[in-house]
Point group: C2
Chain length 310, copies 2
């Protein structure tokens, strides 16, 4: 057993998938899960994801030696403040937030070495466009990277324990400074997601088009963007607002490049376009070679979930 009592706050896609791993792989003796949404908590219970289901921070935080925040990042400060009232000395606090500087700043206002807590930021880079406990699954993390972002409130022992935990979830673990994490994720995750939301909005709002027609012919390419833009609205709103400066910078870079492409089209610069499209094709090959494409087992599970929920 890695931990005696673990407490997961937020039983959504990531929280519930982690819970499944902790239980199935017997990494904790007692697992307590919290969600302020009672419906989610009921679903988690019917799926038998934990030992205790609660809407009380006190019940979960007391005597826990591991606390994981898996709620939208804007709630971290408030939750940490409450946790601080009940947490035992020496407990490890970590999270799964997609933005690390903001998350750690909020958590460490109330929980840090000075108050007797060990904090190690974490971000399992995994997920689907689905949310909620019913959409989590054990192999969600398989083959993906988990980024730990230790700082002055971390200890080598805590980093080691969390590394073991995520490795037991079949993840590869990497360590990074929080600021660097936020920069990399803005590029590979936050900007692409924002663009997907934006284009689905644009296409859906075009005047002079029938909504039915747009949906009917969405196999032309639009459907792929709707899949991405089907992701959890609260989670993403929080990410954009809390990694603001980097995201804003990248939007500007993106518009700059898009305008250049627009100009290529206007002035019939086919060669320049062709050159870009050849380069992006090569990048696709790099992704496949790095085995970071969506794996077959994940596609199968998503299809099954869809069938069950239809």
């Amino acid at each position: 057993m890695l931990f005696s009592k673990a407490f997961i706050l937020g039983i959504g896609l990531i929280g519930s998938s982690l819970a499944r791993n902790l239980k199935e792989k017997q990494l904790v003796k007692t697992l307590v899960v919290y969600d302020k949404n009672k419906e989610n908590l009921e679903k988690a219970k019917s799926l038998n994801l934990a030992d205790v289901y609660t809407t009380s921070i006190e019940e979960g935080a007391k005597d826990a030696d591991l606390i994981i925040l898996a709620t939208p990042v804007c709630s971290f400060g408030e939750l940490a403040k409450e946790i601080a009232k009940y947490i035992k000395k020496g407990a490890i606090v970590s999270d799964v937030g997609s933005v690390k500087q903001y998350s750690l700043q909020e958590i460490e206002k109330y929980l840090n070495k000075a108050t007797g807590t060990i904090v190690v930021g974490g971000h399992p880079v995994a997920g689907t466009e689905k949310s909620g406990p019913e959409n989590g699954f054990t192999s969600l993390f398989k083959g993906r990277w988990c980024i730990l972002t230790p700082d002055e409130n971390s200890t080598p022992e805590a980093i080691e324990k969390l590394t073991k935990m995520w490795e037991s979830c079949d993840m590869k673990v990497d360590t990074m400074a929080p600021a660097h994490h936020d920069k990399v994720m803005a590029a590979v995750s936050h900007l692409p997601q924002l663009i997907a939301y934006s284009i689905v909005g644009t296409v859906a709002d075009l005047e002079g088009y029938e909504h039915k027609e747009i949906i009917k012919y969405s196999a032309g390419g639009f459907r792929d963007f709707t899949r991405i833009a089907g992701s959890d609205p609260t989670m993403w709103r929080d990410i954009f607002l809390t990694n603001k400066q980097t995201v804003l910078e990248l939007i500007q870079r993106f518009i700059e490049d898009l305008v250049a492409l627009e100009r290529n089209i206007r002035w019939d610069e086919g060669d320049k376009m062709f050159e870009l499209f050849k380069r992006t094709q090569k990048i696709r090959k790099d992704v496949i070679e790095a085995k970071q494409d969506q794996p077959e087992h994940e596609k199968r599970i998503l299809e099954e979930l869809r069938r069950k929920q239809a």
Copy 2:
């Protein structure tokens, strides 16, 4: 048999998938395929996709009662000019081009009612990010829409025959004016594809980022865009250049909306963002309900192709 001698020019993803259907479903007596790329023609031969493989327009066009252009749209004019030398009176000419006004304009310079040919524009809205005859498959068209865009050079009989042909490929067939087709496709296909190319270029070129790191963490969302941006560069260059005005207009609309979103982030307007993200989630549901999401059989086939080619 629907046709006695059919001639397909261009044996890429769409051309080869159509060839597979024509042969397997015995819709034609003799199938001749042309490609100027000898390597593609050899591949088609080894896959046994047709009866005759040729680099001669004369050999294919002579006595054909159906000719289908399945090459990049910028080649249509040149090919039509050559076909006109050998085509028999009353033959039907169609195509699979993604841009219909330009395609028909080029084809009908040389082939039209006045010269004794029946022309019916066509666009099977199907495809994957793969290209080449080895990546085509029979069920590519299954459940998808084929748009026919008849004009003054079409006849009801020809429209009916082509409808039967595409329905035999398991497609649903719709009819539309060429201009309306180009407007709808700019929204559901051309703009999304351009955005995918653009963002993959932006992220890959960011200074101060390591290429390896971008690829390593691409599961954060970037990988989905690389998949789309892995599509055939020649085909897409031609589409953007030949549907220029509508694409340029939509790029401006997109930038307008993206800048509004940028402003939401800068001024902490979380509610406005949340509202948009909720709407896009609803649009995703519409796509799934209209059964226009990527079907399971297609995912399975793509995975098999990838394994074979690895």
